[in-house]
């Protein structure tokens, strides 16, 4: 690969007409190919994050960004009378529980996709990808129709002579179920990529040498599939930290999660500096986690080996 990029450069200079203006430095073909995407991320991802950082230092309830400097927003967030830490705790709690539940739910499916379903794997994958393309509010609203009074569950139970279904809507448990439901594919597919890295022969060899199912799982499958499991865990955790639709639709706003707090600051209370400070804290939290985890990953190996 290295020699290839050198030869690329050699042909470039060779085919260039002699009179063409020469740049002071030449980018490698890889860097040139990366430029459009880097530009998009600079304008559409990095710049907005810098904008909220700048806004977070503006005086509260003002739009005087970069004209005045104030730490009042952060002071307000960290003051004890502010209940925003409660939203933070809720979000972290939901995210942790989501990750644990999803790991348990998705593992057997990922195992099946890799080792059991054979030529049906493609079809089963499509079955599990498809809900991603249906807007989450449509799917979550379907659960409202299922659990609501006189809804599918309640109505069926009544028709069967019971006194009716349990009232689970607008509780924190329902919000958690909604998150588990929404983010299943984000755990399942990285996990499957990870399990695909486990050579089948290795499992067979371990079995022939007398290892039990549990031992194989603990000492062969999980360690070798770890990069995928790690990505799935991180992805679902981060997405669940930022999730808001579940709490709004299934939770009926009985619990305010952190993204909801940010949204309230940006919309109803028109306090952009405060909302920005909150968004900065969330970004720092998520960014640190993501960068720490990504550092340990070899993406070439995870994506390249098929």
């Amino acid at each position: 690969m290295v020699s290839l990029s050198v030869s690329d450069r050699a042909t470039d200079t060779a085919t260039k007409p002699a009179g063409a203006p020469r740049l002071p430095f030449r980018l490698s073909p890889g860097a040139r190919a990366a430029l459009p995407l880097l530009g998009l991320l600079a304008v559409g991802f990095l710049a907005p994050l810098l904008a909220i950082l700048a806004f977070s230092f503006a005086p509260p309830r003002s739009f005087a960004v970069l004209r005045a400097f104030s730490l009042a927003n952060y002071a307000e967030l960290f003051s004890l009378s502010n209940t925003v830490w409660l939203s933070f705790l809720w979000s972290i709690g939901f995210a942790l529980a989501t990750v644990v539940l999803l790991a348990l739910i998705a593992y057997p499916i990922a195992f099946g996709l890799t080792f059991v379903f054979g030529r049906w794997s493609g079809l089963v994958s499509v079955l599990f990808v498809f809900p991603l393309f249906v807007s989450e509010n449509v799917r979550l609203y379907g659960w409202v129709l299922f659990f609501i009074k006189n809804g599918v569950l309640d109505g069926s139970l009544k028709a069967l002579g019971f006194s009716g279904g349990p009232q689970v809507l607008y509780t924190s448990g329902m919000i958690l179920a909604g998150m588990v439901y929404t983010y299943l594919p984000f755990m399942l597919f990285p996990m499957t990529l990870g399990l695909a890295m486990v050579p089948r022969d290795l499992i067979d060899a371990a079995r022939d040498l007398g290892a039990g199912r549990w031992q194989i799982w603990r000492e062969v499958e999980v360690p070798l599939a770890m990069p995928g499991i790690l990505i799935g865990t991180l992805l679902t955790f981060v997405l669940a930290i930022g999730a808001v639709a579940e709490a709004k639709i299934l939770g009926g706003q009985s619990v305010i999660v952190i993204s909801h707090d940010i949204e309230i600051a940006f919309t109803y209370s028109q306090n952009w500096p405060l909302g920005s400070a909150l968004a900065v804290l969330v970004t720092l939290f998520i960014g640190t986690l993501t960068l720490l985890a990504l550092q340990r990953l070899d993406l070439d190996r995870l994506l390249g080996r098929r």
């Binding site: 290839l4 190919a33 995407l37 710049a47 807007s135 989450e136 981060v238 968004a279 970004t283």
Partner: protein
């Protein structure tokens, strides 16, 4: 031993089936609600009617919203494939100095909660003095969807032998010819599935559209506004229709993929 393996297979299949069922249950509930007569949903359904589907079809407002969604999704598909094609080459094809860092940068928007990204973009647009509309929504979608599509195309690029490009070069093909006659045809399946993902993810996206589309509405945004205030059975009707559109797109895309693969095998 073999019996134990068969038992595992059975249990895994049963579990997968159960979870798949749960995955589709709410979608089915929506379809059921859209087909029941009467303004308020009750189960068991007393009478079915296609009234709400007809009214949804006839609504001019909804027609415009569907047009918005299609326009956004089409533009996002087109643009994200172009960005992601080159991005994927930088991600997986070339060995260059900043590649490892680039790979991680590309992942960051995927690992970022969309509601927060949407709000940050909203603030950024207003700081620049840009009026939010469906056009800003296209941009917001791109920030999230281009990285996803880049990964999808990159997987195809990993399986691609760079020696083929080199050989074409040695045989006298120009840079453009190499791209058109070697690189593109070989990467076509990856590009196609990337395009399919881009369309479907944009079509169903809610959090980014909510904050960055301004006064313009998309299908998920309209549905949400009616869910919060002013439920009518047109909500599940349009929701089910939008699901069917996604299913049709996926089916069509899958067929084209199959044809592409068959042609490249031949």
């Amino acid at each position: 031993m073999d019996q134990a393996r068969r038992r595992t297979a059975l249990l895994v299949s049963l579990w997968t089936g159960l979870i798949a069922l749960l995955l589709y249950l709410p979608i089915l509930c929506g379809a059921l609600a859209s087909l029941s007569k009467g303004r308020y949903f009750g189960f068991p359904v007393r009478a079915f009617s296609t009234e709400w589907w007809e009214r949804t079809f006839a609504s001019i407002e909804i027609g415009m919203i569907v047009e918005n969604s299609l326009l956004v999704a089409a533009l996002v598909t087109l643009l994200s494939v172009v960005f992601a094609f080159f991005g994927a080459l930088a991600f997986a094809r070339y060995d260059w100095k900043g590649r490892r860092l680039f790979q991680k940068l590309v992942l960051l928007p995927i690992f970022f909660p969309q509601p927060v990204l949407g709000l940050a973009l909203l603030l950024w647009f207003s700081a620049l003095g840009i009026q939010t509309s469906w056009m800003t929504a296209v941009f917001a979608h791109l920030v999230w969807i281009v990285p996803v599509v880049t990964l999808i195309i990159a997987i195809q690029v990993y399986g691609f032998d760079p020696a083929l490009e080199e050989a074409a070069r040695d045989l006298g093909a120009s840079r453009w010819q190499v791209l058109r006659e070697v690189t593109l045809p070989l990467l076509w399946p990856g590009i196609w599935s990337g395009a399919l993902f881009a369309f479907l993810l944009s079509w169903g996206n809610f959090p980014l559209s909510l904050y960055t589309a301004g006064a313009d509405s998309t299908v998920p945004k309209w549905l949400y506004s009616k869910m919060v205030a002013g439920y009518t059975p047109m909500v599940p009707a349009l929701g089910t229709m939008s699901t069917l559109v996604a299913a049709a797109a996926l089916l069509l895309g899958g067929l084209v993929m199959l044809l592409l693969r068959r042609r490249s095998a031949a």
